[in-house]
């Protein structure tokens, strides 16, 4: 069978049979019980490349991508402008088709890129060390919580309100069968004051998302200090690390672990994945970290080079006593983020951050002028905010879509009592003109 993915020709196969000493390929499979072989058939026709492209294009065209709309959807996944160079540079075949650099001499390039990624994440978060990636923000958080439990040998995890619901659900699934207990703080508690009241000797860690799911800024030095004083670890969850460009980094404020989702660093929305989890820590936790770490060393001639290091934490060697089970991770996504950050630089990243802030505050001020629209909160927010629209007209989302808008995230999905609630995000891609039109349509639609 001549197929582009199958280099061997029938003639080569024949020669190989001869060398091995078989007549037919079936002989190599005779270890498989015949009853199993008999039921192995399934009916699946083959498509050529053209047909495949056609089929997938049809699926793609059945969708209305946010990227083609004026979209205010955020709620954990953030559309940002992505420099064209990110894709070009990241998908070079040497990066794309390599695997984990187990042989460092042959893959210095990839290792250096990971080292640079670790450094950038550590710098941005204000932490000592970052690993080479986690699957995504939610799993990074879950692993950080497991780490905190193991490290402190305590059992209670306090979760601040306003944690991204995806992260919350993953955290629940990861911890359900462990000895950790999650305690979700209610939004009404006096959370900005030192939280002595809700911390106790069993508190392993406190999880705080900042900006929180509703866009609000909640992280303060006082809070982190209070947590530290109780011997608990603080875990800060960052859902759009663009915020780190202009907010004081959690590490400087005293966080023990900073985890989050770095999709915003040059990764397309891509219907939710692949994304990029990051995990940064104070150096105390170095030998408890999950995931890969790249370190700098020297070769036998004294030349600098990079290697995977501290692998004794990992499951290859430690098996059931490993700090985590993560093996394949988000390497290419980390390279993309590294390219994104090198292109943006400090000025570019701050421009992005401030543009999202300016846009969101402008939109907030415009929308809240509509009589039936109310803000849910009045705390300072970053680039996202929640509105109470009252009773939504039927087909609100469909109508707005027809006018070219994704108006935001329907908070009734988050919590049915929040029906009529909308969470809006404005990226740097939004223009005043688009936002003004949106406000007009909203007013029209809601009246």
């Amino acid at each position: 069978m001549g197929h582009p993915f199958l280099p061997l020709t029938d003639e080569e196969r024949r020669q190989m049979h001869k060398t091995i000493g078989i007549e037919r390929i079936e002989e190599l499979f005779k270890v498989i019980p015949s009853s199993i072989q008999e039921s192995a058939f399934f009916d699946l026709p083959a498509y050529n490349e053209t047909e495949t492209v056609k089929l997938f294009t049809q699926w793609a065209e059945m969708n209305t991508p946010a990227s083609k709309m004026v979209s205010f959807l955020g709620a954990g996944a953030y559309e940002h402008a992505i420099p064209a160079a990110v894709k070009h540079l990241a998908t070079q075949s040497e990066f794309l088709t390599a695997y984990t650099p187990y042989q460092p001499e042959m893959n210095q390039g990839i290792l250096q890129a990971f080292f640079e990624y670790q450094s950038l994440i550590a710098d941005l978060t204000g932490m000592d060390v970052a690993n080479a990636s986690m699957y995504d923000g939610p799993t990074a958080l879950a692993e950080a919580v497991l780490l905190a439990g193991n490290f402190t040998r305590r059992r209670e995890i306090l979760v601040f309100p306003g944690l991204n619901p995806e992260a919350q659900q993953v955290l629940e699934a990861y911890t359900r069968y462990t000895n950790l207990r999650l305690k979700f703080l209610s939004p009404t508690a006096e959370l900005t004051a030192p939280p002595a009241s809700f911390l106790n000797e069993q508190t392993a860690a406190v999880v705080i998302q900042n900006p929180d799911f509703f866009g609000q800024l909640v992280l303060t030095k006082e809070l982190l200090t209070a947590i530290k004083e109780k011997g608990a670890l603080s875990i800060v969850y960052v859902n759009d690390p663009i915020s780190l460009a202009i907010l004081e980094p959690p590490g400087t404020l005293g966080a023990d672990l900073v985890v989050g989702e770095a999709q915003a660093f040059g990764l397309p929305l891509s219907f939710g994945g692949p994304y990029l989890g990051f995990l940064a820590a104070q150096k105390t936790f170095l030998r408890s970290l999950p995931g890969r770490l790249v370190g700098k060393t020297t070769d036998l001639e004294g030349k600098e080079g990079f290697v995977l290091t501290l692998q004794t934490r990992e499951q290859h060697i430690r098996r059931e006593r490993a700090t985590s089970n993560i093996c394949s991770n988000q390497a290419l996504c980390a390279i993309m983020a590294t390219i994104y950050l090198s292109l943006l630089g400090p000025v570019g990243l701050q421009e992005v951050a401030w543009s999202t802030v300016r846009n969101s505050h402008y939109l907030f001020s415009q929308l809240t002028r509509i009589p039936s629209v109310k803000a849910y909160f009045d705390a300072p927010f970053f680039h996202e905010f929640a509105l109470d629209l009252g009773t939504l007209p039927p087909d609100f989302f469909t109508k707005m879509k027809e006018r070219g808008f994704f108006p935001g995230y329907d908070l009734s999905h988050y919590s049915p009592p929040l029906s009529g609630g909308l969470l809006l995000y404005t990226s740097e891609l939004r223009t005043k003109d688009e936002m003004d039109k949106f406000c007009a349509e909203m007013e029209d639609c809601l009246s």
Partner: protein
């Protein structure tokens, strides 16, 4: 051209004032920063990011690429990892704007094509593996294991089987298996491999008791051998009330020839980045969909894609589900590629993939066992494990051989795994080979054996053709330098 020093680090190359990209800038009426965000939240610490022009960034990552090696650069027989060729069309498809531009939280009506695709992918994976239902949520193989073990746990708890706290795992298993079991709070009981390289029912028997939650088995196993007694084994586990989990990392050996579902497995994870040709990306992203038999379907993560006459929907209301194990719906971009790969082969093509992968492995095994020690001397499946040189006097170990291979432009096999084989070299050529390539690999491996005998120093000091020579890993671990 010239063997250069390592490219300067981004930070070293940074020059204040350089710009690599001009992002869109807000055009709303200006408002003082402090009115937007209280000063107390704003960054006091300087933002330390490198400053480079687009050209410098391009040259930097080009030079890093030039110091890297992937499947597109040459032979990569890294055992267990199935480093097959990644067809170029797959990249195009995952980058279609109608996929790449989708926000995960769009209204269902705006993502019908994506849901249809995911639903179809689940069906195709079920068909290929003989399972009943699939979740596409897991991000990688190890994540699939975690998902599977959470499902087993959930099922046990629902049945009130709180005593079943042990997972049996062969000593040849990949390290992720025990690590995943531990993560879910299971105890791990290691089952020894027989001299024939497989699990024998007799060996297994003593481990069977009412504490056993299940068995995790890789089939073919990590020695590249098919677990011949699989039907007996799965029955034995079922008989004591356990579940059998299949680590599907080695599925590339048996596509179209055998289906884990037909072997009695209750759960399986696939590694799309191995079996189904999605690029490994320097270590990820992969994807690790998990398939289950009917009795476990209700525990699968939420949401599930369901097809109704009105279209496709996310179904959340599944009270037995283990919940979510990852944000959103899995590695959508990776799933697209895997499905496109599968559809370009069809049944016959997939079966030929395994035929060729197994043929290539046996061809190499036949020729290499002349000079290398083959501990399990029997026809293999898609990979096989050598145990160092046959010359037992040799001071050349597997690490030296691996580094020697580098100097011949070949990526070394997986080494020192599985742990039960001393000086292991795990060789997986995959189906993406030509006879000439295989022959040249054999020639190189024999040349290494000759060097080991005649010029051992050449191997002890290998590699010599790389940008750096052999690196001091011990030093890296003793004095970790993990950032600039």
């Amino acid at each position: 051209m010239k063997r250069k020093e390592r490219p300067t680090l981004l930070k070293e190359a940074s020059t204040p004032g350089r710009r690599g990209y001009l992002p869109p800038v807000s055009d709303v009426p200006p408002v003082p920063a402090g009115e937007l965000i209280p000063q107390s939240f704003l960054r006091q610490t300087a933002l330390a990011l490198p400053e480079l022009s687009e050209m410098e960034v391009t040259r930097h990552f080009n030079s890093l690429a030039q110091r890297s090696f992937g499947v597109d650069q040459g032979f990569y027989p890294l055992g267990s990892c199935t480093m097959k060729y990644n067809p170029k069309v797959l990249e195009e498809l995952s980058q279609l704007p109608g996929f790449q531009g989708l926000h995960p939280l769009q209204e269902e009506t705006t993502v019908q094509g994506a849901l249809a695709l995911l639903h179809y992918a689940e069906e195709v994976f079920s068909t290929i593996t003989g399972m009943d239902e699939f979740t596409l949520q897991p991000a990688a193989g190890a994540h699939g294991e975690l998902t599977g073990l959470l499902i087993i746990k959930a099922a046990l708890l629902e049945q009130g089987e709180t005593d079943r706290d042990t997972i049996l795992i062969p000593d040849s298993a990949h390290g992720t298996n025990p690590a995943s079991a531990a993560l879910v709070g299971f105890k791990v009981q290691t089952v020894p491999t027989s001299p024939a390289g497989i699990i024998e029912p007799e060996t297994l028997k003593p481990y069977l008791n009412s504490n056993v939650a299940g068995l995790m088995l890789t089939n073919p196993n990590t020695l590249g051998l098919f677990e011949e007694k699989i039907l007996t084994i799965t029955k034995m586990i079922h008989d004591i009330g356990g579940q059998v989990y299949c680590d599907g990392a080695n599925l590339n050996a048996i596509l179209g020839w055998a289906r884990p579902g037909d072997m009695g497995f209750d759960l399986i994870h696939l590694n799309l980045h191995k079996t189904f040709a999605t690029p490994h990306g320097g270590g990820g992203p992969g994807a690790g969909p998990v398939g289950v038999k009917k009795h476990l379907a209700k525990y699968l993560p939420i949401p599930r894609v369901v097809s109704t006459p009105e279209g496709w929907h996310w179904q959340y209301d599944l009270p037995h589900s283990i919940g979510k194990i990852k944000g959103y719906w899995g590695h959508f971009g990776v799933i697209i590629k895997a499905l496109a790969y599968i559809l370009q082969l069809g049944y016959a093509g997939l079966k030929q993939v395994s035929s060729d992968a197994v043929l290539a492995a046996n061809y190499l095994q036949t020729l290499l066992k002349e000079v290398y020690h083959l501990p399990y001397d029997t026809p293999c499946m898609h990979e096989f494990v050598l145990s160092g040189l046959r010359d037992e006097q040799s001071k050349i170990n597997t690490l030296d051989l691996a580094k020697g291979l580098i100097d011949f432009g070949v990526h070394p096999p997986t080494i020192y795994f599985p742990l039960i084989v001393p000086e292991a070299m795990m060789i997986e050529p995959t189906e993406a080979v030509t006879l000439e390539l295989l022959n040249s690999f054999v020639t190189i491996m024999k040349e290494l054996a000759r060097l080991a005998k005649e010029e051992p120093e050449a191997l002890k000091t290998a590699p010599r053709t790389t940008p750096v020579r052999r690196l001091n890993e011990a030093q890296a671990a003793r004095h970790p330098i993990l950032k600039w």
